[in-house]
Structures are given as structure tokens and as C-alpha cells.
């Protein structure tokens, strides 16, 4: 399902001259989660046709309220991973919905996603 779209993108980026202004609105979603969610998060992205992403496999962090620190240290041995994916507007909701479901499934692990606008792309 993702394949034809991918090839379409590729053709576009090669044929079109780069645009520095954003005509079609795109959103960036930063998903920060416990390492154990890795495969689940990728599955969510796949299911939501979000092909492109940037993954930082080992990141540290802690939640604002009750989220346990993830430092990879002796006291806090677990680690986070962070994915940033840039998707089209209409894709954001389904992705967030699915991620929220995932988070509710195993609240102890921790998963948060943050969305902001993409001003420009190349």
C-alpha cells in the first residue's frame, strides 16, 4: 500500500524544483516513548501510512508529572526512543489516536506525542 506512493514521491522530488514555501500544510509529530514500545510505534506509523520518520533510538528523558526518568543509569536503567515523523494534516489524528490507545494499553511504559507545524520543507 505504501509502495506506489513512495515511488510517486520520489518522482516528484526529482522532477519538481524545490519549493521553500509551504503550500500544503504538514505537521511534525515527535513521539517519545519507552524503548519497549519500539516495534509497536513503528507498526502504528506503518498502519497510518506515515512512511517517513527520523528515529533516535537512545534518548533520555522524563515525564512532566508522573513519568519515570529514563536515563539508562544505575538508578533509572530504562531508556527512551524518539521518533519524529512529518505527515500531512489529515494523518495526524489517526496516528495520535492509535498512539494514545497504545499508551493506555501499558501506561507504565510511557509514550507521549507532540505535534507542531512544519513551516518549510525542501
Amino acid at each position: 500500500m505504501t509502495l506506489p506512493r513512495a515511488s510517486h514521491d520520489q518522482i516528484n522530488s526529482e522532477t519538481r524544483t524545490p519549493t521553500y514555501s509551504n503550500k500544503k500544510t504538514m505537521k511534525a509529530i515527535m513521539i517519545s516513548f519507552d524503548q519497549a514500545h519500539y516495534e509497536n510505534v513503528l507498526a502504528v506509523l506503518d498502519r497510518s501510512n506515515a512512511r517517513g520518520f527520523t528515529m533516535m533510538e537512545q534518548t533520555q528523558g522524563r515525564g512532566s508529572k508522573s513519568g519515570e526518568p529514563h536515563y539508562g543509569s544505575h538508578a533509572w536503567p530504562s531508556m527512551c526512543s524518539t521518533v519524529i515523523t512529518i505527515v500531512e494534516d489529515q494523518q495526524v489524528d489517526p496516528i495520535l489516536k492509535r498512539l494514545h490507545e497504545l499508551d493506555l494499553d501499558s501506561q507504565m511504559l510511557g509514550l507521549r506525542a507532540f505535534v507542531w507545524n512544519v513551516e518549510q520543507t525542501i
Partner: protein
């Protein structure tokens, strides 16, 4: 990709890798021989030097001393002992264990070459022997016979000994107690005198007649014939008509002067088994061969052999050394199985998950089986040490797997996918798992470096534990996460049955957690009380040890169901008298022990020259040696030591016995025998030392803890001395040696010829009839030929007097010595015996130049104590280093190391309450405890530190950590303790060997676990409190300094500026 990630992602590869290890392990296990102890290399070399005609004193001065002086400089020599007796010097070199005996043999040979020139000219070349345990027979078989008695030797030699000797691995098979056939020609002294014949004439006449001679070849027509004269006798009675001389013109036939008796050798040992006369067949193995395998083959062969024997000859087993080995190994295997079961139950109770329990259940045998590969590769065997090692390891191998499993479970419960949980959870604990394995290796690796006898025992154990630990860690970091990812699930619903069964356990454990938390919360607030209390407890244990007195011994006695008894009547007693006493004892024992006795065999009489087995032990007409074997120890209520004591009492009741020696296990040895206190009496004056020895023996016998005492020096042996007058000899044209040879021929008999029948050769012995050689007068009346061919009476040229041969001169470390051995009664400790001996010696009036020393198994014990002591210190240092590296701190390891003393208290209490002695096995338990005890402390400190890092307060960290670590600590301790319970309580064959090990581990670990659980949090708080106040003080100082700096900045700056100018 890390190890665990790879393992989780590739389950097939991981399982097959471990399957391969299991297959190799099982394969190795099937090939492994079974033995009682690890192979103990030979450490003794014997040098025999013959110097004919020299007395014990001459031998000592001219042969033994030069040899000792030179050989003393050989490297790694522990003791040099020697026996100097008439004609022969035997020097025994005992080396430290663990050196290559071949290299040492070469050294010894080089030294011998050096000393060769300083030995007397007539002394023979010294002969070098390597002595080893292989010389101990592995099977003693009995053959009972009626009418075949006379021909028994031949029957057994052809039908039993030869087939047995063909078995692969059998070294030699000898027959004792069945005299060999001999053609005896008994001369009548009076007739010989009447006919003027001499013994030499007769034997040379027989030798000349009894010959086949080839006469060369001859051509007859076209054929070539060989010519042969057949003169050999085809029937012994043909000799009757041999012409031995002439008298008054008539021939004298042999029948005129002698009788020909086709019988058995005159002086031979006779063997009785269960009251029936017969023979004993001794099977020795080739060096390095496995005794159990060979015994099995011999036993398998017995029915076939029995078929080929005449119907009255019955084969039986007197002693089969492998019975004890097999029984021991079997009962130890049983305890291992129980240990495994207990461990699995503990794991289930604490984890409450059958899948997790199954995973642990799979990993235990895997690590253990892997160690068989090591044993097979290094030529090891299943023995007490290697199997005890498995039993010890069961409790420890689960620890790593449990830590991993627990963390994976936590992750799964937090919502991770099992696969992810397995990887990340293992990642989190990998470092601490490796660290805890390193502490175990720090404990067991030094064991591989112990020297001496103890080293031989512990080397295998050390390596095995290191390997098992390494394998178990590897499997905990790869195989266990893989199994977790495949088998563990989030338990969303528990079955009703499970809830019903596990509910109460769960409630109990929770209750325990709460109760413990309250205790801890009290104790961290009263930490000084707790610490002082703990140390008082330790002090109490030391006081108890001093008051109750923990007994000590070297090695527990092994109930091998076998007793050897050597009885000595006064020297010179006739064999008939010995037989009467032996029968009396045998009947008494057979009646009393009938229900538990398997065989009661005794041998009497002087051994022939060609009996290899008999030549290893003393024999003589006055010596009786018994071999008694009982049923295995678990089938009777009486301990072997108790039976020995009873038998000693019987021997004591027979006044005729000059000496008796009842040996538990059948032979004298420092390991596995009965506790024996050995005292060495050094001094040049033989009489003075002997007096001291006799006095010491007498005093020992009066005490009620000593069962028997023995003095090593034998009594003076009676002898008849013939003193030839040289002048008279010369007048008769005789030399001294010719005269002596003639006398020898008359008494011992001259052997000039053999009688051949069916391819066998039998001796033809010519000598005086028994009646003509039974008194001093008989010797004086003996006729020997003079130089002119006439016979003369010995009384004409010599005087015969009665005298006695001085005893063997024994030396040890180049000094004359007598040893007194005191065997302790059943249940009495070696340490008490040595103490008693020392007290007795103190009371005795000992001459100035006589020194008495304790030696033997007490010396071995002291050596091994020293070794193990050094080892314990080395281990503690290594463990400290590992912990300091893990915690990056010196305080925490210090807190944990201190907790080792509580294990010591535990061991002391356990030994005092059970009345078991301290010995090598219980000390081994103590050494192992260092590693196990420290593990508990590490777990507790590690988590408390973690809580501190997470920002909890000192007291809260300590209580929370203690509560959360209670179960893991209880679980690992209980697996080890319960793993040892079967060892401590088992009553199987050989249990007495490993019971001390089990008891000391259980006692030490129980006490130390309980104390560690309150001591460590309290100690942590004390050090933590001190740490905090230090920090605060430093902060305050810094603040004050800063405040001062701010105020006086200008002034101070000026100072600095001034300085710079």
C-alpha cells in the same frame, strides 16, 4: 547487536546451540568413569638397595645415610623416610602433591648416579620404584574347595587367573592361599649318614638323570633324523630308582635314603573364607585404568569362570572395592536429584508462575551437564568431589537466571511485549549478573591454586564451579531471555485452582514482607543497638566454640563396609597355633555379625617368594590377616567404626595376641580411614626411643578415647646362629660360603631340577625330612660334605647358638624414629587424641636427646588448615576487589565483607549442635560461603544505593530496598540451603563424607542470611549518616570560606598581588 538481543531474535539458533552443549555433555557423561576420589597422582618414590650380609646397623650407616644425604636435596621433597634392615635398605621419598612424578623420578635417578660411588662395593645398584594407589587390589575373590584343595593353585591359575588377566585394564591376578605343587624329596638323616651320602650328591644325581638331551642329526638313507635322549621323569615316583651312590659295592637308590612326596610347597599361606579353606584371588588394575569398569567386567565374567571349575570349587567375592564406589556415587546422585526438586519448589513458591519455574527447571540441568564436558576433556571422573560440586552449584546456577527472569517479568507486567521486555530487562541487569558471577569466580578460582593434598581435592571442584558459573551466566544472558520471550506472557487471568493453591502462599509472603518492613524500620532507627547486638552474637559464638569445643579431624572416615585386621602372635609362634586363634575369632564374628556380614576371610602362614600381593604386606607364621566385608552402610544400623571397636575388644580379650591392628577400610591411609593420632619419637638411641614409645602406648591404652595403639618398630626376631670355626673349616678344606650353602640346602632345600608335566614346571626340592630339622641338635647333627668328599657333622666345625635379629632401623628426615599410632574410638575426634597425647608426653619423663612430635593425618590437617586459611584471605581480597569495582566505592564492600563473620558464627553453632567435627569438607563449605553470603549483601546494598540515587532519604531507602529485596534474598538463600539439605540429612552410603559440608553451609548461610537482613540496612544507615554529616560539614566550610572571600576580597587580592610582585 548484544548477546541477549541476538539470542532473543534468533530463538532457533540459541536453543540449538544450547542443545548441542547438552548433547556433548550427555555424551561426555556416558563416557565418564566412576571413582571415589579425584585421581591423586603418585607422590612417593621408593629406592631399594640390597647389600647382602650387612646388618641393620651397617646398612644404615653405609647405604641408607649416603643415599639420604644426597636425595635430601631433590626438589619438592616433603619427607624422606627409610627402613634399614638386614641385607636391604629401603628409602622412601614423599613429595609434595601436584608435581610431575616423572620429572622427579629423573631428578632422583641423577642423584642416585652421583651417590653410586660412595656406596660399598658389594652393594647392588639401587632399584627405583614408583609407588601408587594402583597397587591396591580392586577385587579380592575367594575360592572355596574340598577335594580339589591340593590342585587348587593349578585349577585357579588356568581357569580363573589367566582369563581374568586377559580383561582389558587388569594389571595382575595373583593367587594366594593355594600352595603350588612341589615334588619334595625328604632325606632321612640317619640313612644318609649310614650310606655316607650328602644332600648335594643326591640333588646333583637327580638333576643329572632328569634331562632330555639332543644327540644331533643323523642321515638314514634319504631321510634325516634328529637324535634325542629322553631322560626326564614322566612320573615323580620314577625318581625312586635313581641311583644316588654306591655303598660297599652295591648301588644306593634314592628310595633307600629318602621318600618322595608329590605334594604342595611346605611353607605356604592358607586362606579360609567363611570357615571353608580355599584360596584368595587378588585382582590389581593397570595404572590409570578405571576400577569400577574393571570390577564390573570381572563380576560379569564370574558365572562363566564358575562353569569351568570342578563342582567342589566355589568362587565368591570377599571384597569388591567398586561396590562402595558405586553405592556412594548413587546415593550422592540421589541427593542431587532431591536438591534439584527442592530448588524448583522454592522457585515456584516465590515466583508463583509455572512458566517461570519451568524456565528455571530447564536452565539448572543445562549448566550442570555442561560441566561434564570439562570433566571428560580433562580426564576427570564422577567422584565425591565432582558430584558434591554439582550439588553445591544447583543453588547458585539458578540465581542469575532468577534475576533475569524477575526483571523480565517486571517489564512484562509494565506492559512491554515479551520480546522487548526480554531484551531490555536483560540489558538492565546484565552488569550486576556478571558482577555476581565474578564474585563467585573470585571464590572458586583460587581453589584451583591450592597445593598439597587438599589442592588435589579442590582443583577439580574449583574449575568445575568456575565453568558451571560461566555457563550459567552465559545462559542467563542468552538462553533465559530467549525462553522468556517465547514462554512468558502477561497473566491476565489466573485459573481458579491456581488461585486456591497459591493464594495462601501469596498472603503469607505479603505478610512476611510487611512484618519484615516493620522490623527494619525499627532497626534502622536503633542501628547502633542492632550492630552491637550482631557483634555480641558473633562474640557469643566464639565463646561457645571455646567452651563446647568444636572437634577437628582431617577427613571424615569413609564407611567402605570393609575391615582389615592384622593380628600378630609372639614372633616364632607356629602356624598351627595361629590357625586355632584365627578360627576362633572368625567363628565368633561370623556368629555375631552373621546378618550383616558378607565375607569373612583370613590368611595364615608364610608367603612364598613368588606371591606379589603377599610380598607387599608382612607375612609370617605368627601373622594372621583378616579381610572382613559387611553389607553397605545404609543396610545396617552399626557404623563401621563401631564394628571396628567391637572387633578390637575381641582381639584385646585374647591374651596370646602380641599385637593387633584393626583397619577401617582395609588399609592404613590418611584419607577416609579412622582418625589416627600419630606421634613420632626421634632419637638415636634405639632403646631410649623404644622405651618412650612403649610407655606412651601404655598410657594411651589406659585412656578411654583410644581404641588401639601400635608401635611401628617390630620386636627382635629369634634366630639360630651357626658360628663356623675358620681353622676347622680350613682343615676340612671348606670355605665359609660353601659350608653355609650346604646348610641352606639341608633346611630350605636345594633346587637343582624341575619336574615337567603338561607344559608346567614344578620345583623338585631336596632337603632333610621335617623331623631332622626341628631342633638345635638337629642342626648340629647335620652332615655337610668337606673338601675331600667326606661328610662331617656341623657340631665338629661350628657352634649353634640362639640369638635375635635386631629390628629394622626406621628413619625419617635423616633421624632415627619410632612411631606410635593411636586410633581414636568411634565418635572421638582427632584433635582430642592429639591433645591427650601431648598431655601424656608432657607428664612423661623423656630423655634429653629424644624428641616427640605429632605427625600423620594431624600434620596433613594442619597443612590443609594453613592452605585453606591463606585461601580464605585471598578469596576475601578478591571478592572485595570485585565488589569495589562494581560499586566504585570502598565503604559498601567493607560493610558486606564484615557480614562474613556471621556465616562463621552460623558454622560454629551448626557444628556444635550437631556434634560434627571440623574437617576439610566443612572448611570447604566455609570457603564457599564467602561467595554466597556476599551475594546477599550485594543485592541489598545495590538496591539501597539505587533508592538513594532516585532521591529517597536514607532511612526510607533502607526500608524500601530491604522490603523489596527480601524475597530475592530469601529465594537465593533458600535454594542454596535446601539444595544442601539432602546432603546434610542423607543416610546413604558415603553420607558421612559430605554431611559436614552440608551442615556447615546450611548453618552458616541460615544465620548469615537472617543477620545480613537486619545488619546491612543498619550498617548502611550508619555509614550513610556519617557520609551525610561529612558532606554537610564540607558544604558548611565551603560556604563559610565563600562568605569570608566575599567580605575580604580586596584584602586577600592585595595579598596575592603582593605575592606576585
Amino acid at each position: 547487536m548484544s548477546l541477549y538481543e541476538g539470542a532473543v531474535r534468533r530463538p532457533i539458533m540459541t536453543s540449538l546451540c544450547f542443545l548441542a552443549i547438552i548433547i556433548l555433555g550427555v555424551f561426555s557423561a556416558t563416557k565418564l568413569p566412576i571413582d571415589l576420589m579425584p585421581d591423586i597422582d603418585t607422590n612417593t618414590i621408593m629406592i631399594m638397595t640390597y647389600y647382602n650380609g650387612a646388618s641393620a646397623n651397617d646398612i644404615e650407616n653405609n647405604v641408607t645415610r649416603p643415599l639420604e644425604n644426597v636425595l635430601n636435596s631433590v626438589e619438592h621433597l616433603k619427607h624422606i623416610t627409610s627402613n634399614s634392615r638386614e641385607n636391604v635398605s629401603v628409602v622412601t621419598l614423599e613429595f609434595e602433591y601436584g608435581y610431575d612424578i616423572d620429572a622427579l623420578t629423573n631428578d632422583v635417578r641423577d642423584k642416585l648416579d652421583m651417590v653410586q660411588n660412595s656406596l660399598p662395593n658389594d652393594a647392588n645398584q639401587p632399584i627405583l620404584f614408583k609407588f601408587s594407589t594402583d597397587m591396591i587390589p580392586i577385587i579380592l575373590m575367594s575360592a572355596q574347595a574340598d577335594e580339589s584343595q591340593k590342585a587348587l593353585y593349578k585349577i585357579l591359575d588356568e581357569n580363573v587367573a589367566n582369563p581374568l588377566a586377559r580383561i582389558d585394564g587388569v594389571g595382575s591376578v595373583s593367587i594366594s592361599g593355594a600352595p603350588e605343587r612341589e615334588i619334595n624329596i625328604y632325606m632321612d638323616a640317619n640313612k644318609m649318614e649310614a650310606y655316607g651320602l650328602s644332600a648335594a650328591q643326591i640333588s646333583s644325581a637327580i638333576a643329572a638323570e632328569n634331562q632330555n638331551i639332543t644327540g644331533g642329526t643323523m642321515d638314514v638313507g634319504t631321510q634325516t633324523y634328529t637324535v634325542r635322549v629322553e631322560g626326564e621323569f614322566s612320573d615323580p615316583q620314577e625318581m625312586r630308582n635313581v641311583i644316588v651312590g654306591s655303598h660297599n659295592g652295591a648301588f644306593v637308590y634314592l628310595k633307600d635314603v629318602a621318600r618322595i612326596v608329590d605334594d604342595v610347597e611346605e611353607r605356604a599361606q592358607r586362606t579360609f573364607t567363611n570357615g571353608v579353606q580355599g584360596a584368595m584371588i587378588i585382582v590389581q588394575k593397570q595404572s590409570g585404568a578405571n576400577s569400577v569398569a574393571i570390577s564390573n567386567k570381572v563380576i560379569d565374567m564370574m558365572p562363566t569362570l564358575q562353569k569351568n571349575l570342578p563342582s567342589d570349587v566355589k568362587l565368591g567375592i570377599i571384597v569388591n572395592t567398586s561396590d562402595n564406589i558405586i553405592n556412594t556415587v548413587n546415593s550422592l546422585t540421589e541427593t542431587i536429584a532431591y536438591a534439584m526438586l527442592f530448588v524448583i519448589i522454592v522457585v515456584f513458591i516465590f515466583l508463583g508462575r509455572w512458566r517461570a519455574t519451568l524456565i528455571i527447571g530447564i536452565t539448572i540441568p543445562m549448566s550442570l551437564i555442561a560441566s561434564f564436558i570439562y570433566l571428560y576433556a580433562t580426564g576427570g571422573s564422577f567422584n565425591i568431589i565432582s558430584l558434591s560440586c554439582l550439588s553445591i552449584a544447583i543453588g547458585s546456577v539458578v540465581d542469575d537466571a532468577i534475576v533475569v527472569l524477575e526483571n523480565v517479568t517486571t517489564h512484562i507486567e509494565r506492559g512491554s511485549d515479551p520480546k522487548q521486555a526480554a531484551i531490555h530487562a536483560t540489558n538492565e541487569v546484565a552488569v550486576s549478573v556478571i558482577a555476581s558471577t565474578l564474585t563467585m569466580i573470585a571464590v572458586f578460582f583460587p581453589l584451583t591454586m591450592v597445593s598439597g593434598m587438599t589442592g588435589v581435592l579442590f582443583k577439580q571442584l574449583g574449575w568445575m564451579m568456575c565453568i558451571i558459573m560461566t555457563i550459567s551466566t552465559t545462559s542467563a544472558l542468552s538462553f533465559t531471555p530467549m525462553l522468556c520471550s517465547q514462554m512468558l506472557r502477561l497473566q491476565k487471568k489466573q485459573s481458579k485452582l491456581f488461585k486456591k493453591v497459591y493464594g495462601p502462599i501469596q498472603r503469607m509472603l505479603d505478610g512476611l514482607d510487611n512484618w519484615y518492613e516493620r522490623r527494619i524500620s525499627w532497626s534502622v532507627r536503633h542501628r547502633w543497638t542492632v550492630i552491637v547486638g550482631s557483634f555480641l552474637f558473633f562474640a557469643l559464638s566464639i565463646v561457645v566454640m571455646k567452651l563446647a569445643g568444636v572437634k577437628s579431624e582431617f577427613f571424615p572416615a569413609n564407611d567402605s563396609a570393609r575391615v582389615g585386621v592384622t593380628l600378630e602372635l609372639p614372633i616364632g609362634t607356629r602356624v598351627e597355633k595361629a590357625e586355632v586363634i584365627a578360627k576362633q575369632l572368625a567363628d565368633m564374628w561370623m556368629e555375631r555379625y552373621g546378618h550383616i556380614l558378607q565375607a569373612c576371610n583370613f590368611t595364615i602362614g608364610q608367603a612364598g617368594d613368588n606371591n606379589t600381593f603377599a610380598s607387599l604386606r608382612s607375612s609370617g607364621s605368627h601373622i594372621i590377616s583378616f579381610n572382613v566385608s559387611f553389607c553397605p552402610s545404609n543396610e545396617r544400623s552399626e557404623g563401621l567404626a563401631q564394628l571396628c571397636d567391637e572387633m578390637r575388644a575381641d582381639c584385646k580379650a585374647i591374651p596370646e595376641l602380641a599385637k593387633y591392628n584393626v583397619m577401617l577400610g582395609g588399609q592404613q591411609s590418611s584419607m577416609g580411614g579412622q582418625q589416627t593420632a600419630t606421634f613420632e619419637i626421634y632419637g638415636y638411641d634405639m632403646d631410649a626411643t623404644y622405651d618412650v614409645a612403649v610407655e606412651l602406648q601404655k598410657r594411651f591404652q589406659e585412656s578411654d578415647i583410644v581404641a588401639q595403639t601400635m608401635i611401628s618398630r617390630s620386636d627382635y626376631e629369634p634366630e639360630l646362629v651357626i658360628n663356623f670355626d675358620r681353622e676347622k673349616l680350613a682343615q676340612q678344606g671348606l670355605g665359609m660360603s660353601a659350608a653355609a650353602a650346604s646348610v641352606r640346602n639341608l633346611i630350605t632345600g636345594s633346587l637343582m631340577s624341575y619336574y615337567r608335566e603338561d607344559g608346567e614346571e614344578y620345583d623338585i626340592k631336596v632337603r632333610y625330612d621335617v623331623e631332622s630339622r626341628s631342633s638345635v641338635e638337629d642342626i648340629e647333627n647335620m652332615l655337610i660334605p668337606n673338601g675331600m668328599g667326606h661328610n662331617i657333622k656341623i657340631r665338629d666345625i661350628a657352634t649353634v647358638s640362639e640369638s635375635s635379629i635386631p629390628p629394622t632401623i626406621e628413619r625419617k628426615d635423616r633421624q632415627r624414629i619410632v612411631t606410635v599410632n593411636a586410633v581414636m574410638k568411634d565418635g572421638e575426634a582427632l584433635s582430642d587424641g592429639v591433645e591427650l597425647g601431648n598431655r601424656l608426653i608432657e607428664e612423661m619423663d623423656i630423655p634429653n636427646d629424644v624428641i616427640v612430635q605429632v605427625a600423620g593425618s594431624y600434620e596433613d590437617q594442619q597443612d590443609s588448615n594453613r592452605d585453606l586459611g591463606t585461601l580464605a584471605i585471598l578469596i576475601i581480597i578478591l571478592v572485595f576487589i570485585v565488589m569495589a569495582a562494581q560499586f566504585e566505592s570502598l565503604t559498601y564492600p567493607f560493610i558486606i565483607i564484615i557480614s562474613i563473620i556471621f556465616a562463621l558464627s552460623g558454622i560454629i553453632f551448626a557444628l556444635v549442635f550437631t556434634g560434627v567435627s571440623i574437617n576439610v569438607m566443612s572448611m570447604l563449605g566455609g570457603v564457599m560461603l564467602i561467595g554466597i553470603v556476599v551475594k546477599n549483601g550485594i543485592v541489598l546494598i545495590d538496591y539501597t544505593r539505587l533508592m538513594r540515587e532516585r532521591g529517597y532519604g536514607l532511612i526510607r531507602s533502607a526500608t524500601v530496598a530491604a522490603r523489596s529485596r527480601l524475597r530475592p534474598i530469601l529465594m537465593t538463600s533458600l535454594t542454596t540451603i535446601l539444595g544442601m539439605v539432602p546432603m546434610a540429612v542423607s543416610h546413604g552410603v558415603g553420607a558421612e563424607m559430605w554431611r559436614p559440608l552440608g551442615i556447615s553451609v546450611i548453618g552458616g548461610l541460615t544465620v548469615s542470611t537472617l543477620l545480613t537482613l537486619v545488619y546491612v540496612p543498619s550498617m548502611f544507615c550508619i555509614f550513610g549518616g556519617v557520609g551525610i554529616s561529612n558532606q554537610r560539614r564540607q558544604l558548611r566550610k565551603k560556604r563559610e570560606l565563600n562568605a569570608y572571600w566575599k567580605e575580604n576580597k580586596e584584602k586577600e587580592m592585595k595579598f596575592i598581588a603582593d605575592d606576585e610582585e
